[in-house]
Amino acid sequence: MIAEAGLAALWLAAALALLQLVLAFTGASPAVRSLAVTQGLMTLIAFAALIAVFVRTDTSVALVVANSHSAKPLMYKFAGTWGNHEGSMLLWVTVLALAGAALALLQRRIGERMLTASLGAQAALGLGFYAFLLIASNPFARLDPAPAEGKGLNPLLQDPGLAFHPPTLYIGYVGLSVAFSLAVGALLTRDVGPALARAMRPWVLGSWIFLTLGITAGSYWAYYELGWGGWWFWDPVENASLMPWLAATALLHSINVLAARGGLRTWTMMLAVVAFSMSMVGTFLVRSGVLTSVHSFAVDPTRGTFLLGLLALYVGGALALFAWRASHVAEGGRFALISREGGLVLNNLLLSVILGTVFIGTLYPLFAEAATNEKLSVGPPYFNAVAGPVALLLALLLMIGPLLRWRHHAAPLARWVAPSALIIAAALMISLIAAPEMSILSRLGLAVGVGLVPASLMPLAGRSLRRTPLATWGMAIAHLGVAVALIGMASDSAFKSETLAIAKPGDRLNVGPWLVEFASVDPVAGPNWTAVEAELRATRGSGVSVLHPQSRTFTDPVTETNESAIATLWNGQLYTVLGRAREDGWQLRLWWKPFVTLIWFGGALIALGGLLSLGGRLWRGRRRAESEA
């Protein structure tokens, strides 16, 4: 009954979307807004129905049978709702509809015409994906007769990180649809200007914050769950989340120019379309089966064709509209090369270069195989070699960009930039003397990161801190986050130590400054798994850290995983993995990773900066509205 109610709600939402699109054409604005809100409610009901069906392990629903099991802990039954293709697609559509509802409810700054056009675009987006769900990926399909038990869930996904990672990312990805719809609405009504930028900004900031958090959390989750000690693998699905983030970051900066000075109108519209297009391309890549990855859902070429059709329709349509209308968009204020706008143009360009290279790298194996029948893979060597230096250039730009004046910067910059430049030079020299064997990328990354720490805070220097706008604080902290993350990445890459050994209880191993004693190995059991757990005692002078890595076997489906044990200290992490048993002992893999936690701490700082900016803009907007009223 619940499943049918969910399916009915989904059909209703699709019908409402159709009505919303039609009415948007005729310009009936209040009706369009109510429809958007109701549509959001309907999809929420459908999603709640799916959650209910999973939590109760209703084995008459095919999706539950394929992906769940009554022995799973409750939290993972709940999270299992979106740990599969159909459920996550329903989540996608729910976020899309809720974003439209929020746009209808909260948007006050743009005219009725543009809002109606934007809501129409949002409805059009929804229609295609409702059709995809209802026709090709029905989450509520029944199974008759109902089997007694489900087939379980991939144990790699039975983890607290799973509960937060996909919904956070989806709010980010799909939230960018609002920017897309607003851009389409603006192009349709020929009204691209600072007002549009100020209206778009909170939506982009909000999506961007969630994307940053989702990517950071995903990276940390992969780090401790997969047991390889790496935090980014340039996996196609990871890239699928990074590309919208890169586009959204560029969009965010472009919006600032449009809002402040009316410039970069065409760039901003282009980026708004590209950002959500990247989300859709990502959705396609992950679900069509053209790329295999750790994250891939079940391969299904018919779904892939459907999604490709939607991609062609939406992105093609938006880009066609862009090409047709963008030349009619009024020019903004002119600016000199050395100016804040100039810096932000360079920032856009560099981010677009990284975006382009990641895009090409992700898709290259596909096309190379099609053309030459040779299999090749593009992995970290390419991505690090290409994206790394450009990212360093961006980091250097970060040191001067925020200090430039709008329109034309004529004042001397040296005294603001000199301290950071000196710090970089000093860091380079110290690293050359103390650690001559570092790779050049790590060395530069570390030096630039260290120099960027004071540089990111420089815009705050010489100001009354209490009266500095919150948005400026946000910018400083977000840039500081970039510096911190950069230091973490370089430090991990340059200074990590690894020990791989076959050991028996009683053995002692060395890794970095640590002496690790392999104390014992014992069997343990959990709700749906059994494991062999090792006790490791690690010391580096004073105090002992005790770690318990496990080699775990899940019961349904039968899968073996390594549960790594990590000890977090003030200056790094000791990461331990227990492998297979052999006749002469156990495989033990130990890493000492100095300052690796800075990577995710930096990511969190970036998100915090975004949050402060968002708060600052919203608060200032409300105060301005009040004073104008």
């Binding site: 069509s288 892939g304 490709l308 090409a323 029948n373």
Partner: protein, 176 residues
């Protein structure tokens, strides 16, 4: 003022991308990785016996002067069960077949052979897939045609099916 046509570049790029992705979706997926050793000599190896009653396998055994088939299998490999009758058929036709059991246990291999027939003259045990990887084989079952001098002449990936027999016989002939 930028030229008007530049605004159409993103659209053009997208259409190219869609066309390429559509082509990729339409062409059949090919997850098979073939060995690059065709035409090269077998890597040297010497494997212990996989079962008690048969000798183990060394690369020198495969340079016997006449073409042989080298079949990589495992007791836990389901398609190997399907392939077994066809291997027996080839053996009845006079083809010499040697086997390599990968990542397996003696009892399980014995059991497998008892249930599905045993066409092998010698069976080597490769518990860590080292020789398998050295051969450029990426899965089971895979069958290699080795000529009399120990050179790999052909590789068949996946289970041998009815329709593959002519090609295998042809490869054995060509390897004389």
């Amino acid at each position: 003022m930028r030229p008007r046509w530049i605004l159409f570049v993103p659209l053009a790029l997208l259409l190219l991308l869609i066309a390429a992705l559509a082509w990729r979706l339409a062409s059949p997926s090919d997850n098979i990785v073939k060995s690059r050793l065709e035409g090269r000599a077998l890597p040297a190896f010497a494997l212990a016996a996989a079962v008690e009653y048969k000798p183990g396998l060394a690369s020198t055994d495969l340079a016997s002067g006449k073409p042989r088939l080298l079949n990589v299998f495992a007791s836990w490999c389901v398609p190997c069960i399907a392939e077994a009758p066809l291997l027996r058929r080839l053996k009845q036709e006079g083809v010499a077949i040697d086997g390599i059991a990968i990542r397996d246990r003696r009892a399980d291999v014995t059991h497998f052979l008892a249930r599905n027939g045993d066409p092998y003259e010698r069976i080597g045990s490769d518990p860590e897939s080292r020789v398998q990887i050295g051969l450029g084989s990426s899965g089971v079952p895979e069958t290699f045609v080795i000529d009399g001098r120990g050179v790999i002449r052909a590789q068949h990936v996946g289970p041998i099916e009815q329709g593959d027999l002519p090609a295998i016989r042809h490869a054995l002939e060509a390897a004389r």
